[in-house]
């Protein structure tokens, strides 16, 4: 393990000045998280799990400044019927948000929830704790300890519209920590949308507890704010015959680490984690996924596509762990990069660890350039080199976007991708 002292010193520095002893139902969980964090220390470059991504700027006491990107586009998801909840630099914006009322759903803010016997006690920091083994995730523990706000969503039926979390970045020095808990009762159904750069530095945890037969759909877009940094964790626990589908679109951003930790605990559950990313220049994007099969006849899919150019770096660390007894597991994992020039890099670490003997698991990882024959074919039909490259790029990413189940949302993402590609030509 080596010397922990520098790592724990870093913990002291980053938590200094942050409110941890907030009263209320989450107090115990926060103190436990702090103890976990002190025991682990913050990640540094010697950690195997951070081999491809330097955590320094995520763990240093003060967030590096990030200029605010002046976005002239209509925000994503604007035209959709949704319940909108807005955070500006991590601070809830009551004026810009809709009423937190939706039939079949209770929605509260973490910062103002007071009940001592709150339902979220069984989730807050609990899924995160489960996700700390076998691999440590100190930034998630930091989040549980120090989160200033977040949304608590309890779904009892089928939500009539998506809940849309909008993260606006206005301050060059903002350092936001948000923690969301989502509980879906048996048979419930909810779509959560997330978009926006959030802050100069953003640490976000979302814990999702999906009961038997429930379904959770998640579409997230991390937009074109170039200098932002983000470390996010998505923890999900799936009951029998439940369903989990998460898709992330990332464009630019100097550093993004998205971790998804999914546990299939009930039989016949299905989980999909997918992502499409478009990186340019000093862009570093890391998808780290850990899927645990701990029940019979479950399916999981990981589909990640990255388009990189001008020295952009893409990272994929994906693991499928099939525990003893998790028979009839069907696990699939693919990670692919399209390198538009010789300067860009894709670093992939696909892993399978299987302790059951009746399973199907496959994984693949590829890196490639634009297909010259296809490019010539399109150009020979009169399509310009730029437009032909865009068309082939979009077709490459479409396989990941295709994992989104809702046609409207899929269309929304594809339309946005097309316009992003066209504007950078």
């Amino acid at each position: 393990m080596g010397d922990l002292a520098p790592k724990t010193d870093a913990v002291d520095m980053i938590i200094a000045g942050r409110e941890i002893t907030a009263s209320g139902w989450s107090q115990t969980a926060r103190h436990e998280a702090l103890s976990r964090l002190r025991a682990m220390g913050l990640p540094d470059r010697r950690d195997e799990y951070w081999k491809f991504t330097r955590p320094d700027t995520l763990t240093q006491a003060v967030a590096p400044e990030a200029a605010v990107f002046d976005n002239d586009e209509a925000p994503l998801f604007d035209g959709l019927d949704r319940l909108k909840i807005v955070f500006v630099d991590g601070v809830f914006d009551v004026g810009a948000s809709d009423d937190l009322t939706l039939e079949g759903v209770t929605i509260e803010r973490l910062a103002t929830s007071t009940s001592d016997l709150h339902w979220a006690r069984d989730i807050y920091g609990v899924l995160e704790t489960n996700g700390q083994t076998p691999v440590q995730r100190p930034l998630a523990a930091l989040n549980t300890a120090c989160a200033t706000d977040g949304i608590l969503i309890h779904v009892t039926g089928k939500a009539s519209k998506p809940i849309s979390l909008v993260y606006i970045h206005k301050s060059e020095t903002s350092d936001a920590i948000l923690h969301h808990c989502i509980k879906l009762d048996a048979g419930a159904d909810l779509t959560v949308l997330e978009n926006g750069p959030a802050a100069a530095r953003f640490n976000k945890v979302m814990e999702v507890d999906i009961a038997d037969g429930a379904a959770f759909h998640h579409v997230r877009a991390q937009g074109r704010d170039h200098e932002r940094r983000a470390a996010t964790h998505l923890f999900a626990r799936l009951g029998t015959e439940s369903h989990f589908n998460s898709f992330t679109l990332s464009v630019n951003g100097v550093l993004t680490r998205n971790e998804a930790v999914v546990e299939l605990n009930g039989n016949d559950a299905k989980a999909t984690v997918a992502g499409a990313c478009l990186g340019d220049g000093n862009f570093h994007h890391d998808d780290t996924v850990f899927i645990t099969h701990d029940a019979v006849n479950c399916q999981s899919r990981q589909v990640f596509k990255k388009v990189l150019r001008n020295g952009a770096v893409g990272v994929f660390q994906g693991k499928i762990l099939v525990k003893e007894g998790a028979q009839k597991t069907d696990g699939y994992q693919i990670s692919q990069s399209l390198l538009l020039d010789g300067d860009s890099q894709f670093l992939a670490k696909p892993e399978l660890e299987i302790y059951a003997d009746d399973v199907i698991c496959s994984h693949g990882s590829t890196s490639g350039a634009i297909d010259e024959d296809a490019l010539f074919y399109l150009r020979a039909r009169g399509i310009s080199e730029g437009e032909a490259t865009d068309l082939l790029t979009l077709s490459f990413l479409a396989e990941a976007v295709d994992e989104i189940e809702d046609e409207k949302l899929k269309e929304e993402i594809l339309t946005r991708l097309t316009s992003w590609l066209a504007r950078r030509r």
Partner: protein, 251 residues
């Protein structure tokens, strides 16, 4: 229409001369055929004319209606009215055939300073042309050439030609991989496009295709040159006697 003068071409990667002084004049509205044994440079000629990378023109010129082709990007050549029906049409996963066709039609229109075709107008046109070539709705919806049979790929090439309405069409071994029925269908598609303002250069190994697409002039190509030109009877001579006789005669 197409004027090729003393065209000399070598491979960029290796010092290998492929075309050694090709001369060819194709008048508006005429159909020329080039026949020749394997490795004579027929496909290279079609690639050089359409602008594929990997070839270096060491001497000579190629013009389309007086405009220098060799200086243009492939997409500019297409917009100028040149079309190559590929010997091996490329499969492009993830790009729908319709999207591809519409992008191509509108890109060419835009390049020529014309208005883009509306979605409704395009749909109507593509459906009519597809029907003639027995291309069903499913083939239009599928990604470009993905899972198409050899015949379907060639029919799709002709559909693109019909949609793009080029002036100069080069057909590179369009008959390869076609059964008799498919060859008939493809030839009918080509013949329907024959007009006063449109010329064709049909590259083929066999006389068979020329039974359906009747050429005005037939050229025999060997070792990077056109060694003999004549009327349709020249194709029959090849069919009956093979290339050896003709090559011996001109040697």
């Amino acid at each position: 229409m197409l004027s090729i003068k003393n065209l000399n071409v070598k491979l960029e990667e290796e010092d290998k001369q492929i075309l050694k002084g090709v001369n060819l004049e194709i008048e508006p509205g005429s159909v020329h055929a080039i026949m020749g044994p394997n490795g004579s440079g027929k496909s290279t000629l079609s690639y050089v004319l359409s602008g594929k990378d990997g070839y270096e023109v060491t001497e000579g010129s190629a013009t389309l209606e007086g405009t220098d082709l060799l200086d243009m990007e492939p997409e500019e050549r297409a917009a100028a009215g040149l079309f190559l029906a590929f010997q091996y049409p490329v499969e492009i996963p993830g790009v729908g055939n319709m999207t591809f066709l519409r992008t191509a039609v509108n890109a060419q229109r835009k390049a020529r300073g014309e208005d883009e075709m509306s979605a409704a107008e395009f749909l109507k046109l593509v459906r009519a042309k597809a029907k003639d070539l027995k291309i069903d709705a499913d083939m239009l919806k599928r990604p470009v050439n993905m899972g198409f049979s050899g015949g379907e790929k060639k029919r799709n090439e002709i559909l693109q030609m019909a949609m793009l309405e080029p002036k100069m069409c080069i057909l590179d071994e369009t008959d390869s991989g076609l059964d008799v029925d498919a060859m008939k269908l493809v030839s009918e598609g080509v013949n329907a496009l024959r007009s006063e303002g449109r010329s064709f250069l049909v590259i083929t190994h066999y006389q068979r295709l020329l039974d359906h697409i009747k050429p005005d002039v037939v050229h025999i190509m060997a070792d990077g040159r056109i060694v003999k030109s004549g009327g349709p009877e020249l194709a029959l001579e090849v069919e009956n006697n093979g290339y050896a006789d003709i090559l011996a005669e001109v040697a």
